[in-house]
């Protein structure tokens, strides 16, 4: 592996802010150019770029992970797949991830790509919630005790914290159900 490639893989693996920043500077403009030429915007490019990094983040946790192509080639391959799928969804076509795609196949990423599409529905719904709901649910999902959450959120009682948690989660669930991707998701 080239030193620069190793640096980027390590930045992703260890969630290193400086390295990740360099990664954005170095590669986002090129990915943006690619997305713009294929019917997307700069905002789409940022989304796809972030999703691709999350796919890589999950992949590199696997200690057996070996970079078999150049880093940019791999990143580009993932972005192309993610964007291709999003375009297909927009156009209403049947969605399937190419199984024999060289890079994804090499790195056995196709399953992660599919998972990413799925999980994005939840993250998108979550990001639409109010700040207090996001904070409360983040702790709740991290299994922080309700009494502790009540204290951190400065609520008057644990009962109120539970009620608020229910309201926030209900909003989240309703948003997921309202998402067109949801029915497809649950049929898998």
């Amino acid at each position: 592996m080239r030193p620069a490639d190793e640096h980027y893989i390590n930045a992703i693996r260890h969630n290193d802010g400086t390295g990740l920043q360099q990664l954005y500077q170095e590669f986002l403009p090129r990915i943006s150019a690619f997305i713009r030429r294929n019917g997307g915007s700069d905002a789409d490019a940022k989304d796809i770029f972030q999703d691709a990094l999350i796919v890589l983040f999950k992949k590199v946790q696997d200690t057996d992970f070996q970079l078999t192509s150049g880093f940019y080639t791999l990143l580009y391959g993932i972005c192309r797949n993610l964007w291709g799928n999003r375009l297909q969804k927009k156009s209403g076509n049947e969605v399937s991830i190419p199984e024999d795609y060289k890079y994804t196949d090499e790195a056995n990423l196709s399953q992660l790509l599919e998972q990413q599409e799925e999980e994005q529905v939840f993250w998108d719904a979550f990001r639409e919630l109010g700040q207090d709901c996001q904070q409360l649910l983040q702790w709740f999902f991290a299994k922080v005790k309700m009494a502790e959450i009540a204290e951190r959120m400065e609520y008057s009682s644990v009962g109120y914290a539970k009620k608020r948690k229910f309201q926030c989660k209900e909003q989240l669930i309703q948003r997921v159900k309202a998402d067109a991707r949801y029915s497809e998701l649950m049929n898998k």
Binding site: R2, N15, P29, K46, I54
Partner: protein, 280 residues
């Protein structure tokens, strides 16, 4: 409803007491709507309960937001290309001003000092003067007369080629994403191309240059044909009729340490498709 949520959560957590758990599971067997609801909660918890991913996403979101500024004010590569163009333009203006000032006027005696009564082009001169600083920074290497060629360090960037590197991919018809590297004497290039125009057998070439401005584009160090293979995808590609190709090139090159640039072209296209740089 709140009770139902808490029951589902306790079930997923494994904290539902035994008789209740059995009753709940029996209910799940009978009630498909409830089963779907539990499955949804399970997926939501699994996805949003990953602490490492949380930290990673939060980091990315902060970086992405901070990146906003260069993205909206113009792409960094466009800006540097623009600055280069501006630099060249200003240099040309200054050169022509100097020419007017110091070249003897056709009707003046050759020994006369620069004629004061020749201010015709000078009104622009005071406005240009303050912009001289950026000129020096961006254009020094583009004035080969001032720089003895032999003294260019082997790792000094070539500004003209750097602008092309930053702007690559250069073609929308043949969209490239390639990378090259040296490993000892082995030079390799690999990457991808998306194109609806590429025809099988159409030749793609790689040309390698060193960093010296006078060697580009007429004195390449090495030229060769790139291997092009179609990536066979069963799934319909959403990129109109574009097909995906894998590109590869290998050569053993005995070159001294330094900065090199490679240019990828396709038969029948006047412009280069990609310019990249690689260090030996």
């Amino acid at each position: 409803m709140q009770e139902q949520y808490e029951r589902i959560e306790a079930y997923l957590d494994g904290t539902l007491p035994e008789p209740e758990r059995k009753a709940f599971e029996a209910e799940l067997e009978r009630d498909q709507t409830l089963a779907a609801e539990v499955e949804l909660h399970r997926r939501v918890h699994r996805t949003l309960g990953n602490a490492d991913e949380w930290a990673f996403r939060q980091n990315l979101e902060a970086i992405s937001e901070a990146y906003e500024a260069p993205a909206e004010n113009g792409k960094p590569e466009n800006r540097s290309a623009l600055r280069l163009l501006l630099g060249i333009l200003i240099l040309i203006i200054i050169a022509s001003l100097l020419y007017y000032f110091f070249m003897p006027a056709p009707d003046a005696a050759p020994t006369e000092p620069p004629a004061i009564e020749q201010p015709a082009p000078s009104p622009t001169a005071p406005e240009e003067a303050p912009e001289e600083e950026p000129v020096e920074e961006t254009t020094t290497p583009t004035a080969p007369e001032d720089t003895p060629i032999a003294n260019i360090p082997p790792d000094q960037p070539n500004p003209a080629l750097e602008a092309l590197v930053a702007a690559s991919p250069l073609s929308a018809t043949y969209e490239l994403a390639v990378e090259a590297r040296f490993s000892g004497q082995d030079f390799t290039l690999e990457g991808e191309m998306l194109s609806a125009q590429y025809e099988e057998g159409q030749s793609m070439t790689l040309t390698l240059f060193d960093n010296r401005p006078d060697n580009y584009p007429d004195a390449p160090l090495h030229t060769g044909e790139i291997q092009v293979m179609e990536i066979d995808e069963d799934a319909p590609i959403a990129f109109a009729a574009k097909k995906a190709y894998f590109l590869a090139y290998e050569a053993a090159l005995d070159l001294p340490a330094g900065l090199y640039y490679y240019v990828v072209r396709v038969d029948g296209e006047a412009e280069a498709l990609w310019v990249g740089k690689v260090e030996q």
